[in-house]
Symmetry: C2
C-alpha cells in the first residue's frame, strides 16, 4: 500500500476542534488507499510556554533538560490525534520520537536526524494499523536522552520520514495554500505556483518567503522527496497546493519562478580601505565573530592601493557591526577612511531555474527598475537568482514592476 | 553515601517559584550529605487539563493514548526541577519513567510497578551527580509503551524507588505537616503524631484521612520503607512531620493512635430476609456488580427462618443499591419484607496497634459515646480498629468525645 506522510503545524492542531478537522483530512487519504504517517507539532502557543518556563528558570540552561521539557508538547498532540482517529474508527497509534526511534546526534535543542528505524511502524502497518501518528521535532540521542531538532524541526521530521519510508509524497499542511510568485500582500496579481523546483524553493525560503523551513527543503532535495505545501483550511475541491519537486518533474520551466524580498536590510560601506591581500578576511572575520549575518558583498576596483568595501546586513545588527569595525580600526588591523551606513534599504530578488538557459534576465530586471526610476545600490547574482539592494521606500513598487516584467501573473 | 527519596506533589510544584522553594529543601539534604532521588508530580491543574482533553476527544478512549498524553505533565516538572537545581550549582538531571526504566505491567492508566532498574541512576551518582529527578506516576510496559499508575501514583513511585535503592527514608512533601490524631477542623485539640505504625496509617488512610495514598503505605510496609510525611511550606525548625514506620520502631505504642471518620455514609436494612445458606452471596454479589462499595455488614440472629440484614455504603450509591435490591427481589432470588434506608449517618473509628494488647478499648469507646447520649447503630471491629455508625448530626461531638476519652491531646 502506498505510504503518505502528512504534517500538521501548530496552528493546524491548536485546539481539539482543529485536531478533529485535521483528522478528517487524514481519514480522506486513508479512504483513498494510503497508509499514512502523520507528523504533528505542539498545539500553537504550547512550545513558547514551555520555552518561557525554561528560560525563566535558568539563563544558561542545560539543553538536555530544555529538550526534556520542550518535547512534551508534541507528545500531547500525537496522543490526542491518535485518539481522534480511533474515534473515527481508523486504526491508529501514537509514537514519541524515542519510541520509533528517531536517532539523532547529541546536539541538544538543534539535533540532526541520523537514522529513522522503520521496523516498528512497518510491523504495525502489516498488522492492519492505518495511521502512525508521530510527535515531530524530536528524537533520541546515542546517550538515550530526548533531543529536539530546533525551529522548523517538524517539517524536517516529516521529510525524513518520507525519505525513510519511501513515501509517495510528503504533504505539509499549513495556514497558506501554497507557494506564490510573490507576497500577495504586495500585489494582488501574485499567483500560486502549481510546481516549483527544490532549488527555487531554497532560494525563496532563505529570501523570506517563510512557507517551508530551509532545512526540510534541503533534505527533500537530497532524497528526492516530493513535497507538497497546502492549506489545512482550504476547501476540498481547490486545494492542490504547490508541489516542490525535482527540476525534471517540471515540464514548463519558468524563466523566473518568483520575486522574493527582504524588507529590513541595511548597507554599510567602508570608504578608502587600504587594499592588501587578506583584507576581506580581516573585515568579515570580526563581523562573523560579532554574530553579524553579512549577506551581499561588493568591492570596488582598487585605485592608488585603496578601495571601497560595501556589504548588506539585517538592520538590527548595525550597531554590533559598527562596534566590530571601529574595534578593528582602533587595533590597526584594518585601515579605512570613513564608515557610511544606510539603514533604509531593502533587497529584492528574482529566482528561477530557467535563468540557467535563458540569457537576458538581468538586463530585463534592470530595465524594469530603471523604467520606475528606482536606483540600484548593490547587485549580487547566483546561478538561479539575481538580487538588488534598493531604497526601502521603493520596495513595493519594485516587486510589482518585476512581477509584471516577468509576466508572473499569467497562468503558466 | 546514604540515599534519600523526596517526593513533591502537585501543589508543591505548582509554579516556578514553588519549584525553586522545593529545590531549596532538596539542596539542604544534599548539604547534609545525602544523594537524593526526587520524585515529582505534574504542576497542579496540568493533569486535570490533559485528562479533560482526552475525555473530550473520546468517550471510550484507548488507555495507551491516554497514558501517552497524561504522562507528559510530570516530564515537564522533572526537567524544570533539574534546571532549578543546576542553577543552584547542584549536579542534577531528569529521568522520564521509560528512561530509568520503571518497568510496569500493561494495565494502562492503572499500571503496577514490577521492577525499577537502578543501574543507570547509580552510575550517575558514582560520576558525581547529587540529585536524580524522576517523573512520578509513570513507567513503561513490556510492549515499550508509556504507562501511568493511576491516582496517587507519585506516592507509590516514591516508595518503590526508596525500596529499590535501599533509601534511608522516603519523605513525602505535601500541604499538611503530618498525620494528626484526628482532623484539626473538628477539634483544635488534634495533635500531630511523631510516629505512626504502617498498619495504623493504612486504617487511617482508608478511613478518610487523605494524607497518603493507601497503595503507597502498603508498599512501604511490605518493603519496610521508613516513610515521612511533612509540609513543603513549614518552617525549617519545626517540620519533622510524621514518621510512618514498622511497629518495632515505635517505643511507646499508643493504645489508640487516632480517631478517623467518614461523613457521607448511608445505612440500608433488608427486613425479614428469608435466611438460607448463600443468602449473603445472593445479596452482596449483585451489589458488587452494581458498583456499590459496601463497608460494614451486620446480620441479626435468625428467628423463624427470617433475619434482618444491615449494611453501610457511601450515600451517593444508595440509588444504585436500591435498584439492585429491587431487582433481586423481583427475580425471586432474595425474598425480603421491606427495605429501610437511612441516608443521614456517619462512621467514626478509633485506630491503634495497642488494642492488640490492651483490653477494654471497645467498652471505653462505647462509654464515651453513651455519656454524650449518642446512639450506636452498627458496630464493626478489626484487630486494630473499632468502627461505629451513628447519626450524622453527632459526628463532631463523637469525634471530640473519643479524642478526649483516649487522651489523644496529651503529648505521647
Amino acid at each position: 500500500m502506498p505510504i503518505l506522510v502528512m504534517k500538521f503545524g501548530g496552528t493546524s492542531v491548536a485546539s481539539l476542534e482543529r485536531i478533529r478537522h485535521a483528522a478528517g483530512l487524514v481519514s480522506r487519504e486513508v479512504e483513498n488507499g494510503h497508509e499514512v504517517i502523520v507528523i504533528v507539532s505542539a498545539m500553537s502557543g504550547k512550545t513558547n510556554e514551555l520555552v518561557g518556563w525554561v528560560e525563566e528558570t535558568s539563563r544558561f540552561y542545560d539543553a538536555r533538560e530544555y529538550d526534556a521539557v520542550v518535547s512534551s508538547g508534541e507528545q500531547v498532540t500525537a496522543g490526542l490525534m491518535a485518539l481522534t482517529l480511533q474515534e473515527m474508527e481508523i486504526p491508529a497509534r501514537s509514537w514519541a520520537g524515542w519510541q520509533v526511534p528517531v536517532q539523532t546526534d547529541s546536539a541538544h535543542a538543534a539535533a540532526r536526524i541520523e537514522d529513522i528505524e522503520t521496523g516498528n511502524i512497518t510491523a504495525k502497518f502489516a498488522e492492519g494499523m492505518k495511521v502512525a501518528v508521530v510527535a515531530g521535532f524530536q528524537g533520541i540521542s546515542p546517550e538515550g536522552r530526548v533531543t529536539t531538532l530546533g525551529r522548523g524541526g517538524s517539517d524536517t521530521t516529516a521529510v525524513a520520514f518520507a525519505a525513510a519510508f519511501g513515501a509517495e509524497r510528503c504533504d505539509i499542511y499549513t495556514d497558506v495554500d501554497g507557494v506564490y510568485t510573490t507576497d500577495p500582500r504586495i500585489t494582488s496579481k501574485a499567483r500560486k505556483l502549481d510546481r516549483i523546483a527544490f532549488e527555487e524553493m531554497l532560494e525563496l525560503a532563505s529570501l523570506g518567503a517563510r512557507v517551508l523551513q530551509t532545512r526540510s527543503v534541503e533534505l527533500a532535495m537530497r532524497y528526492n522527496v516530493r513535497l507538497r505545501v497546502l492549506s489545512t483550511f482550504g476547501s476540498n475541491d481547490d486545494n492542490a497546493g504547490t508541489l516542490v519537486c525535482a527540476e525534471e518533474d517540471i515540464m514548463e520551466k519558468n524563466v523566473v519562478a518568483g520575486v522574493a524580498f527582504s524588507r529590513d536590510e541595511a548597507e554599510m560601506t567602508l570608504l578608502s580601505v587600504a587594499d592588501r591581500p587578506g583584507i576581506a578576511a580581516a573585515i568579515f572575520g570580526p563581523l562573523a565573530t560579532a554574530g553579524v549575518n553579512v549577506d551581499m558583498i561588493v568591492q570596488n576596483i582598487s585605485e592608488d592601493g585603496r578601495t571601497d568595501m560595501t556589504f548588506s546586513l539585517p538592520v538590527n545588527q548595525v550597531a554590533r557591526a559598527r562596534q566590530a569595525m571601529e574595534a578593528v580600526k582602533a587595533s590597526g588591523e584594518v585601515n579605512y577612511g570613513r564608515l557610511v551606513t544606510d539603514e533604509d534599504v531593502a533587497k529584492v530578488s528574482v529566482v528561477g531555474i530557467g535563468m540557467r538557459s535563458h540569457a537576458g534576465v538581468a538586463s530585463r530586471m534592470f530595465a524594469a527598475l530603471r523604467d520606475e526610476s528606482i536606483n540600484i545600490k548593490v547587485i549580487s547574482t547566483s546561478e538561479i537568482k539575481i538580487s538588488v539592494l534598493i531604497d526601502r521606500k521603493y520596495l513595493e513598487l519594485a516587486v510589482q514592476a518585476l512581477h509584471e516584467a516577468f509576466e508572473l501573473s499569467d497562468a503558466a
